[in-house]
């Protein structure tokens, strides 16, 4: 059994920021990630990010990951374990993981779970044909491994991921035939939509996929118009010659470890599915277990980073570490979160979170210090 002070599970923006903050307060941190490259979703984001300077706005995603990793490199009290998949968190607080074909057990004093989210699938006839991928998977193929997924793409979903991956497909020299979106309006940022539209990609709102065709792999697809009950209207079918379909219909939190640890979970549609109940310090219902980022509610890297700092601070404070101006720092972080979520796009997130917060009676929280 390896003793550890603070274990951070997941090295995406949330986990990295949690580690930075907790280490700055003096605690010893171990970050584990199942990938070889740390940075989570940031690694494949070649576009500039939104937000404000504090969240590295107008910097590209992969550059943000490098900024955070450089910071961590300089810290003596943070260790990183790559290619290590956490398998379980037991009730007694023991965490087990698989690393280099070995099964390892760790006993941390506090845990920050920052495992992110996974792509949702969509049911339609022949959706198992080769050539049909999640949009995030295609982004990984292209931007991390330099592999072109095909030549003509149908994108399903006009949220930010669908729009951004469409743009990056065009940058890679792939033709995007259309983006279909079942809702009557575009879900992602309109600046992203206008950007792909003026490159000639039609965005068809009120449309969805009817069926995919092909023998050994995808050869074509039929899309159709939806009525107000989201049912396909016969006679409105259009056939598209595509060899790739990208599905981008949302993410759901990767919360298996939280269920297993016994965290109280709640279904919040706006946050992508079941998410952990927590207090404003991001302390879950399980003592010493903190959450941050997409696993706590699908949102953005900007908010994931701020949540990471808060969770890292709370975990360190829970172990008795202090920062001389902790109250001020926490206030600033809370204000950043508030302002990121303040607009009409963040309304959904605010509504979701308001259904979720608990007051914690747990001993040492940031407020009590």
């Amino acid at each position: 059994m390896i003793p550890v002070e603070i274990l951070v599970i997941g090295g995406g923006p949330a986990g990295l920021c949690a580690a930075v903050q907790a280490a700055e307060m003096g605690s010893k941190v171990l970050i584990v990630d199942r990938n070889n490259t740390l940075g989570g979703q940031l690694v494949k984001q070649t576009h500039m990010f939104f937000g404000s300077e504090k969240q590295y706005a107008s910097t590209r995603g992969f550059d943000i990951a490098n900024i955070l990793l450089d910071k961590i490199d300089k810290m003596k009290n943070v260790e990183i374990m790559r290619k290590a998949t956490v398998l379980a968190i037991y009730e007694d607080g023991v965490v087990s993981l698989e690393h280099k074909d070995k099964y390892i057990k760790i006993k941390p004093k506090a845990i920050v779970v920052a495992t992110g989210a996974s792509e949702k699938n969509l049911a339609f006839p022949n959706n198992d044909l080769p050539g049909i991928y999640g949009a995030g998977a295609v982004q990984t193929l292209m931007n991390e491994y330099g592999v072109k997924p095909g030549n003509r793409v149908l994108m399903i979903g006009a949220g930010n991921i669908g729009l951004i991956v469409s743009y990056q497909l065009i940058q890679a020299g792939v033709r995007v035939e259309a983006i279909v979106e079942a809702a009557p309006t575009i879900g992602g940022y309109l600046v992203h939509a206008s950007k792909v539209r003026r490159m000639g990609v039609p965005i068809l709102t009120g449309y969805s996929i009817k069926e995919a065709y092909g023998t050994d792999s995808l050869e074509s697809a039929a899309i159709w118009k939806l009525d107000e009950n989201w049912r396909g209207i016969p006679g409105t079918e259009k056939k598209l010659n595509v060899d790739v379909i990208c599905i981008s219909v949302g993410l759901s939190p990767l919360s298996e470890l939280l269920w297993q640890a016994g965290c109280q979970m709640k279904y919040i549609h706006e946050l992508g599915g079941f998410v952990p109940v927590r207090d404003t310090n991001l302390h879950s219902s399980v003592k010493g277990l903190f959450v941050a980022g997409d696993v706590a509610g699908v949102e953005e890297a900007s908010s994931a980073m701020v949540e990471g700092y808060i969770a890292g601070m709370s975990a360190a404070a829970y172990l008795g570490y202090k920062l001389y101006n902790m109250k001020l720092v926490k206030e600033d972080l809370m204000n950043q979160l508030d302002s990121l979520r303040h607009g009409p796009v963040g309304e959904k997130i605010r509504r979701g979170i308001s259904n979720l917060t608990i007051e914690h009676e747990a001993a040492a929280s940031v407020d009590a210090l």
Binding site: F49, F50, S52, E53, T185, S194, K195, I203
Partner: protein, 162 residues
């Protein structure tokens, strides 16, 4: 309309375009940002105060075209690629339009390319005047194109001949 197609309407454009009077005085910025999203780099990068401080990061950018000198710093810093610079005083019958362009290969100066409107439809041929791809632009090059004045407000993108 915009939120169903990604194409701004004439009214949308009129709301963000500088006045004719300002356009006749030299290069100025056109900020096509119509939706309240948490974003403000256009303000933080602008040195002349032409883009006003955001009271709330979700506000739309407020532009004072009389202060903008067309320096184009904001063009490559906008993550939405929503900003362009229009100079209606470029020549007798042509305007100079500067747009962000993130595709490869980059066009070359003097190359004739297709000018596309906001739907991606080819409108007319345009001539590339300058390609700026300095380190400061951080991989968002700026292309300056000469456009017949009647198309200056219509063209917003380019396509290179295959």
């Amino acid at each position: 309309m915009l939120d169903a197609t990604g194409i701004p309407t004439k009214e949308d454009l009129e709301r963000v375009f500088p006045t004719e009077e300002r356009l006749m005085q030299g290069p100025t910025v056109i900020v096509e940002c119509y939706q309240n999203i948490p974003c403000n780099p256009c303000y933080t990068v602008c040195r002349t105060g032409a883009i006003k401080e955001f009271a709330d990061i979700n506000d739309l950018p407020t532009v004072d075209h009389s202060l903008c000198n067309g320096c184009s710093l904001c063009v490559s810093n906008c993550p939405g690629l929503a900003i362009s610079i229009l100079d209606m005083t470029y020549s007798e019958d042509e305007a100079l339009l500067k747009i962000p362009y993130e595709l490869i290969p980059l066009p070359k100066p003097n190359q004739i390319v297709k000018g596309l409107d906001r739907e991606g439809v080819e409108v007319t041929d345009v001539k590339v005047i300058k390609v700026i791809d300095s380190k400061a632009l951080d991989k968002t090059p700026i292309i300056a194109i000469a456009v017949k004045k009647q198309y200056a407000k219509i063209i917003r993108s380019i396509r290179l001949e295959e």
